[in-house]
């Protein structure tokens, strides 16, 4: 763990019954970085995120969040999360963009307290930040998949997190919107100073935007700069993925 790291996983293992999913992982996230977490299905990416979020507890090893052991960590608003399932919400749910984004402040405000003008202003600011200000009072079900995903990012941003974790957020989003989505993430990282951990299968694109790439398949096969990842041989990639792989770069 270095001075810059805000998340640190040390010697982490996790199994679902007898199946080992993560095997002695050491992984750190540095402040200000944009990490693309890649790897095959079932390689343990979502499990790793659930461990960081405290949803699962590791079988062995230790996790520290913002220099605190996870067991003592209370300031969860520092971590924003956009799940794989966000987009599979009930499309008929009659909630406006404003109402959905406001749920990002619920736990920050706390019980028996109400939204103030200041909270309402920060909700509108988060919506503006993701470029959805035209749709503040539109029902979320009427928006496209890409727009909905932006709303969920705004929901995570409204509590002003220092780290934003996104678990395959572009599943079901059309190509044009995926490109705009990556540009938004790039902006959040560069101009808003938010640290990003993005789980994705889109290796070609993430290597263009991320500052770091980590490849996970039960163990951490690679963690370094995108340029170095692209230099990996087909044999090394195939070893990480467990089957034959060639890296293809594209702009979408």
């Amino acid at each position: 763990m270095n001075d810059k790291s805000i998340i640190s996983l040390q010697d982490i293992s996790y199994s679902y019954e007898k199946k080992v999913v993560l095997d002695h992982i050491n992984f750190t996230i540095d402040k200000g970085s944009f990490i693309g977490l890649i790897g095959p299905n079932g390689g343990g990416k979502t499990t790793l995120i659930k461990l960081i979020l405290g949803i699962l507890k590791p079988a062995s090893g230790s996790i520290s969040l913002f220099n605190q052991p996870i067991e003592q960590f209370k300031d969860w608003r520092k971590i924003g999360f956009v799940s794989q399932k966000s987009n599979s919400f009930n499309k008929g749910f009659p909630a406006t963009v404003f109402e959905v984004v406001s749920t990002g402040l619920t736990s920050k405000i706390g019980y028996f307290k109400f939204f103030t003008q200041k909270h309402k202003a920060s909700i509108k600011k988060a919506i503006e930040l993701v470029g959805m200000d035209e749709y503040v009072y539109e029902n979320i079900g009427n928006l496209s998949g890409g727009q909905q995903q932006r709303v969920f990012i705004a929901r995570s941003l409204v509590s002003q997190p220092e780290l934003l974790i996104l678990d395959e957020p572009t599943v079901g989003v059309d190509t044009e919107n995926v490109k705009r989505f990556y540009e938004l993430l790039h902006d959040l990282n560069r101009n808003q100073g938010i640290t990003l951990l993005l789980v994705t299968h889109d290796t070609g694109t993430v290597t263009k935007f991320a500052t770091d790439v980590a490849c996970l398949n039960k163990t951490l096969h690679f963690h370094g700069k995108p340029g170095d990842y692209e230099k990996l041989s087909s044999e090394e990639l195939s070893r990480a993925y467990g089957h034959s792989v060639n890296l293809v770069s594209h702009d979408h």
Binding site: W76, K85, N90, P94, A95, T103
Partner: protein, 278 residues
Amino acid sequence: MIADLIQFDFLRNTFLTGILIGIIAPLLGTFIVVRRLSLIADGLSHVTLAGIAFGLFLEKKFTFILLPPLYSGLAFSVLGSIFIEKLRSVYKSYQEIAIPIILSGGVGLSVIFIALADGFNTELMNFLFGSASAVSQGDFITILAISILVVLIIYLFYKELFTLSFDEEYASVSGIHSKQIHLLFIILTALVIAASIQIVGVLLVSALMTLPVAASMRIAKGFKQMMFLSIAFGELAVMIGLTSGYYLNIPPGGTIVVVAILILLITIGMKKLRIRKA
């Protein structure tokens, strides 16, 4: 009718109770519908019936016990709601199985207590289909207390309940005590069902919780608007239903539900017209 309302306490109690349940049933119904728990209201209403039958049985067989059926119904309903939550946590992948279990359990117990109390009587019929003359002064005060409690809790926990309803996983991850709040909500539901039964009846109470919401869902923009529209529709259905039930001398439960269905059909028609115009 206004003269009758002034003259007869029972009629005044019924109408005031109607106003209250016209607010609280659709208010909770909004959360029930969006969380896809509509059938829970049916399950709980049948458990409430078992409680009422139990109360009537005690009243008949042990005359020294003074337990109004509303209270035994309330107790059964709350216990039933806690039992539903237990079942839902046991059958995590088949949570809906809790509803037929609780519904059939409720009907089974009702049959037993009704038989032990020597069969059907008018009072029981009132609870099945609702009545325009069933509400005593004591019952009205209990229902008023329940209504104040429900509105207060929804007001205090609105943002948590909304977050939980929209995305349960996100609510849990962000540190909201989902389980406890859900339990509180389901207990409130049980109270509202037991309170509404005297007017709407066991068999139709879930309709008052869901039909106004189904109608407002078609035209509302946003959740809050849907909630207030549902209350307006619920209130309209209860008032028209009670008045027409009084004049036609029929149980108000039926007329309330028919009016609620008419409102639903009108909103569906309005939406279609709006789409065609666009």
